[in-house]
């Protein structure tokens, strides 16, 4: 009985180890194919060992399918990875790539908002979310996100510039001037900051 148990355990371990080796080989092969730009081949390597309960398999396939331009499939794999590790922001960031390619901006916003629930000060996500709201002319919402960036990184070019423009759009001229001036320190002769300051000067002339 003991011998049978030992043989069975050994058999399972060997099988598991063999399985792990096969998966490692598939990943190695997929990296090699990816390097040569063969994303389809790279995805097929992973598909050959695919286990839907594996976070890594789903994450990798999400990325490779996105690189192949198969956006819907990419979304499916990233969704699965999110399901497996709901507190990870890595697959959520990946998920937004095919969504953005498909211009599903509402879904992108939803994902970014979820990421910020997990990682509220994520500068990249705060910037992107602010930018989407800015493009949608929802300046009060945009301001919330850009504000977070400049609070942590007051001398950051991108955050300061968008704070300049968002404040300008909201009619907060003094604040806009402060941020445009800060941008000018960071990036002297910056065209966008200069444009903002010129527009404000124009407002002053009109008033007079």
């Amino acid at each position: 009985m003991k011998k049978l148990l030992l043989t069975t355990t050994l058999g399972i371990l060997t099988f598991a180890s063999f399985g792990q080796q096969k998966v490692s080989d598939a990943f190695l092969d997929s990296y090699t194919q990816e390097k040569s730009g063969n994303y389809l081949g790279a995805a097929m390597s992973i598909t050959s060992v695919y286990n839907q309960a594996s976070y890594e398999h789903n994450l990798r396939l999400g990325y490779l399918k996105y690189m192949c331009g198969a956006n819907t499939e990419s979304i499916t794999y990233y969704s699965k990875a999110i399901e497996l590790m709901p507190f990870a922001i890595e697959p959520r960031i990946g998920y937004t790539l095919p969504l953005a390619a498909m211009e599903s901006w509402t879904a992108v916003i939803e994902q970014y908002t979820t990421i910020l629930k997990i990682d509220p000060n994520n500068t990249t996500i705060n910037y992107r979310l602010g930018y989407i709201y800015y493009i949608r002319r929802n300046y009060p919402e945009a301001l919330k996100y850009f504000e977070k960036i400049v609070k942590l990184y007051p001398f950051d070019y991108h955050g300061s510039l968008m704070m300049g423009w968002t404040n300008y759009q909201l009619g907060k001229i003094d604040e806009a001037i402060t941020y445009f001036n800060r941008v000018s320190l960071n990036s002297p002769t910056d065209k966008s900051a200069k444009e903002g300051l010129d527009l404000i000067k124009g407002l002053d002339i009109k008033k007079k």
Partner: protein, 205 residues
């Protein structure tokens, strides 16, 4: 009354003009300092910023912190960054700057303090959690290291740096089963990874 209004108007006009002139001076100093920095002339860049220096100006202190660090004046760099931190205590930018000269000077307690302060403001900051974990790991404080690497891996489960350190920390805290699973995950990310292979060999012994 008319004279009063006129006086107020003139005072405001002069104040605005002075502000504009000061802003212009600072802008010019920054612009020239970037040009000198590009040529590797950090001393020249520092001297230029000093001509318009005001202790209460965040940007000037931040810039001088950076330039002094680049010039190799680490103690001065720390002073300027410290000043920037006092001026904007909720910003993490000057705290990140501060750790560069502090670490060159081997002031690891100061570095750790800054990192912990950053994490009070931004608890999920992956880069800072990783660096904090690394300091604790090097001090063999694996329990503290574990907390920080766990945060990195929880947000980025397939990130190489976080994974490998979390694997080693699990190994050091006597969790070989968890360490093994993590080393294997590293092997997927970086096949034939030397550090992961070393960990697995140690566990299999």
């Amino acid at each position: 009354m008319k004279i009063k209004i006129r006086t107020i108007f003139i005072t405001l006009f002069i104040a605005t003009s002075l502000n504009l002139a000061a802003q212009e001076n600072i802008e010019n100093a920054f612009e020239k300092s970037y040009a000198l920095e590009k040529q590797g002339n950090y001393n020249g860049a520092i001297n230029l910023i000093k001509t318009v220096y005001s202790a209460n100006n965040y940007e000037l202190n931040l810039r001088l912190g950076y330039l002094n660090y680049e010039a190799g004046f680490h103690a001065e760099s720390m002073n300027y960054y410290a000043r920037a931190i006092v001026l904007l205590p909720n910003a993490i930018e000057p705290k990140i700057g501060y750790v560069y000269p502090a670490s060159i000077l081997g002031k690891w307690d100061d570095v750790l303090k800054q990192y912990l302060d950053i994490l009070k403001i931004d608890p999920q900051n992956s880069s800072v959690n990783y660096k904090t974990g690394l300091i604790y790991y090097n001090r063999k404080n694996y329990v503290q290291a574990y907390k920080h690497f766990e945060k990195v891996v929880s947000l980025y489960p397939f990130d190489y740096d976080g994974l490998i350190m979390f694997a080693w920390t699990n190994y050091q805290t006597g969790k070989p089963k968890e360490a093994k699973a993590l080393f294997k995950r590293v092997m997927l990310l970086s096949p034939n990874d030397k550090s992961a292979l070393e960990g697995l060999t140690l566990i299999n012994k």
